[in-house]
Symmetry: C2
Subunit: 531 residues, 2 copies
């Protein structure tokens, strides 16, 4: 039985949790974040090559990974408790799902990868809760577009109220751009019934309002048009949502134009309030961004790309613009996977996967970080493992960061018990994102140009489709051991283990009439750019 | 509380249900089918135009809808009970999900539409059950590719057993195309431990087999290579899956080559048996296809396209080829939505949506179909509504079909109580699929060329972006009422209500220096083809 998930946030408790989350972020010394997605990439694992450049990695992710959906966001605020000299952790687990909040809201399409869903459900991920109770959200551009649409719709409907003198299309001038529509024959009976009902309501009833029964959007449009013309200055119409999201019209008694104007403005305010609620989870990300605080993740490039694209702005084509955008939205980022793979940690940490890293940094020469989770914030995270639950992964990312940071603090004079997140000792790791499976470039540098290691020991070879690994081994045998990176079945990169042997390669192997062709890595890249 | 879902089929009860389903299909007089999907189309509703042709509709679906996933299939077998002179219905509800059954199986990516998932979960669809217990499946081409891969892998591994004389790459010939890999330094300790374990097992243990603990695919590859060379002719190796799908190696004691050969063949048979199980739900669709029985759906074009693409063959670019493929896989199809929208039903059935249609055909002049669901087949379908559950929708599609078919039977001499599904009275509806929102072509004809109504009353107009509906009304006001089909903000089709007025349009409106341009619909289509 899972303990109460106090810090689990869905659309049911989002409004009242927003305060608690905002307060925790504002108090935090640093924040950790982790995301779960509906899939990783459109093609197989060959997708990321060991001899990519960070820029190529960005474009591969942009093209192959951004159509998947971010479905769970774990955020953990680590608040330094000066008196107790330790951190208090407040983990939050958000289910997020961009459910359209009205008929006019964006109806997003997204990709899923079967093996990812299979894996998530085997780890206990609750997809019914996600789709039913996930917190919806709008990015700033989407919010802006919706706001404009609401204004436009109100203007348009405003005019239809004040110029009742419009007549049917085939004759007589029209003032309304859209023009009234003739009532189709199969709807006339329905419309006439409603007119009588309203007539009766106005003459005989004492009530303030009359609720009509649910009907289709087209029927509501006909009703707005007909009732607006039949009872000018006497009624105000507004659409409301009943249970199961059925829409129906509410007729309100009004006295004269001023009253109508007031009702219309009120209706517009309600639409804007609804829009504000629909911004949803984006508000949390805005608080984190504006806090300017250190945001820590584990192997966080994919998380960052999804967070920027989902809750801020469409990702730019240009790699440089992406770096600028990332820096301006999250001024201070740190990737614990990079930290674990860089000295002085690299030789002490064999396996840098999150759960392995956690076990390693709990033993010598590191020390287990002393962190407490207050009551009401999912205390059981301390004892039971919830791997691949976003908030748990964010929580243990924080534990790893604290242990590694404190290890750096030991070499200071005097040694710092707890290294503050702003410490210059952390600068080598700040705003640098870990590059998976990339041999000679350990990180993407958000603060400036990326590392450009010389790849003179790397050659680009093209050969007949029948060639196998052994043929390449054969060809390069005079130069010692090689590492092959297949590009397709007729070409590959070949990098020499013994770099010094590189300069004799072209001399020895470039001969006329050979079934293969060799160029240097740089030459191949130059030709690629010209195309 | 939902009653037991006896006829609900997931991967837990698929094997034993297969017999019951196959028997029901073979006994059936006709079969109804309905599907649920993760989304409808990639773009908004403007996707299907009222002046499309069926061929254009096919290409729009091919391009915009086939990337969504079919996730639930409802199949209902209607078995005619001669003695009781009524049908017995056996509904089956299949959750289907193409979960990769091994690391080498296809890992499919598919699209979802937020509003569709929101709608399905609000109707009680269980996504956790889908992803955890959905029946996996392979289409014939996928099955063929997997079979070839298994054969290839066995051949390749076969050779590595019989030519232990291969040595490390940097010197000495290789016989294995892939070539053995040098053991990376961080794995050597792990590999050596296992070698000692196997040594000890061979010399001291009595057991037949030794199970090694789970390890990565790369480690298993190194073990196959090292153990194969160290203990030639003494052991046989096989990978097995433990709980949570962890893979581990099993070492079996063998005496000489014959024993190894036997074990290898046995391993290959196990792989083929696993592949056969993985074909899964495709088997049910094959039984339906091969039965050649009448398959009835409601507005079934999208169902058909998904069924063909998921369980048979990739959908062809060519519309004619699609028609051939559909006819050869389902020789006899019938769409109850088309039936309800064609005389003699059209004037008696106002609303042809499935649940409205069911209510209409239960009253005069139709009569409620007399159908019974046997014990153990979800009897409650008779009382409670389960709209949008595939098997329920399939069940009531059958009820509607029977009522409408029997209504046709009444006009026979002598009147037929129950019209047999092979009756010639049904021919006008067979192999014709309903076209949604298409003004003048009611169906797609799978048996021959589609209807080509004259569209001389339709004009293609291009105009400045500022133009609105009223401007088009204005322009065409001399010719009476019009219907506008917007193509984009600078062009639209305009069809005249009064068809006779068509021939004077070009004469009156085609003048020099006008801000608009008009051509006939046919002229516009001809120019489109030339581009
Ligand atoms: N003439 C007029 N039409 C309206 C007004 N409000 C909504 N409509 C139209 O009525 C239809 C239904 O709108 P509404 O009831 O707001 O449902 P929603 O569009 O799903 O929010 C739409 O086509 C609107 O354009 C109004 O105040 N005047
Ligand atoms: N040399 C050799 N390699 C094998 C054999 N069987 C599997 N492998 C390799 O070992 C790795 C793991 O294979 P396996 O344990 O079957 O796991 P699976 O590939 O996930 O089914 C793969 O790279 C296989 O190519 C074998 O009989 N001989």
């Amino acid at each position: 039985m899972r303990l109460a998930r106090e810090m689990e946030v869905t659309r049911k408790n989002f409004e009242e949790s927003l305060e608690i989350v905002t307060k925790a972020i504002e108090e935090a010394s640093f924040i950790t974040i982790d995301g779960e997605f509906t899939g990783l990439n459109v093609s197989g694992s060959s997708h990321t090559g060991p001899l990519d450049t960070p820029e190529e990695r960005y474009h591969k992710l942009l093209e192959g990974s951004t159509d998947f959906l971010l479905i769970q966001v774990g955020i953990c605020a680590f608040i330094y408790d000066g008196s107790a000299k330790r951190y208090t952790a407040k983990p939050f687990n958000f289910y997020v799902f961009p459910r359209p909040y009205t008929r006019h809201a964006p109806d997003r399409r997204f990709l899923c990868q079967c093996s990812s869903l299979d894996f998530l459900v085997s780890q206990g991920f609750d997809f019914n809760k996600l789709f039913r109770e996930g917190i919806s959200y709008l990015s700033p551009p989407e919010e802006k577009r919706m706001r404009e649409e609401i204004e436009q719709r109100h203007q348009q409907h405003q005019m239809s109220f004040y110029s009742p003198g419009l007549t049917s299309p085939d004759g007589g001038e029209q003032t309304v751009p859209k023009g009234p529509i003739a009532i189709p024959e199969e709807h006339s009976e329905f419309i006439n019934n409603i007119c009588c009902k309203v007539e009766d309501f106005l003459t005989n009833s004492e009530d303030e309002t009359l609720e009509l029964m649910p009907c289709t959007a087209f029927q509501r449009k006909l009703l707005y048009q007909t009732l607006g013309t039949k009872f000018p200055q006497e009624i105000h119409l507004q659409s409301k949502s009943g249970e199961k999201n059925q829409r129906f019209l509410v007729v309100t008694r009004v006295k004269g134009e001023g009253d109508i104007k007031k009702k219309e403005d009120q209706k517009q305010q309600e639409d804007f309030a609804e829009l504000d609620r629909a911004v949803g989870f984006t508000k949390v990300m805005k608080v984190i961004s504006q806090s300017g605080k250190l945001v820590v993740g584990h192997n966080m490039l994919l998380d960052l790309i999804h967070l920027l694209g989902h809750f801020f702005y469409p990702l730019p084509e240009s790699y440089e613009e992406f770096k600028l955008m990332a820096r301006c939205i999250f001024p201070r980022l740190l990737d614990t996977k990079l930290m674990a793979n860089t000295q002085p940690f690299k030789e002490k940490i064999l396996m840098s996967g999150l759960s392995d890293l956690k076990k390693t940094v709990e033993q010598e020469p590191f020390c287990k970080s002393d962190v407490v989770i207050p009551e009401g914030f999912g205390h059981h995270y301390m004892e039971t493992e919830q791997l691949h639950e976003a908030a748990y992964d964010a929580f243990i990312t924080g534990l790893c960061f604290i242990s590694m940071a404190n290890y750096l603090g030991k070499f200071q004079d005097p040694p710092a018990g707890i290294l503050p997140p702003a410490s210059p000792l952390l600068e080598p790791f700040v705003n640098k994102l870990f590059m998976m499976r990339l041999i000679d470039i350990p990180y993407m540098d958000l603060t400036g140009p990326d590392l450009k290691p010389t790849r003179d020991h790397v050659f680009h070879v093209t050969f007949p489709a029948t060639w196998r690994t052994s043929d390449l081994f054969q060809l390069f045998s005079p130069f010692g051991n090689i590492h092959i990176t297949w590009l397709d079945d007729v070409s590959s990169f070949v990098s020499l283990a013994k770099k010094e042997a590189a300069d004799s390669v072209l001399k020895t192997l470039c001969k006329k009439g050979t079934p293969y062709r060799i160029t240097t890595y740089d030459e191949f890249k130059r030709r690629g750019k010209e195309k």
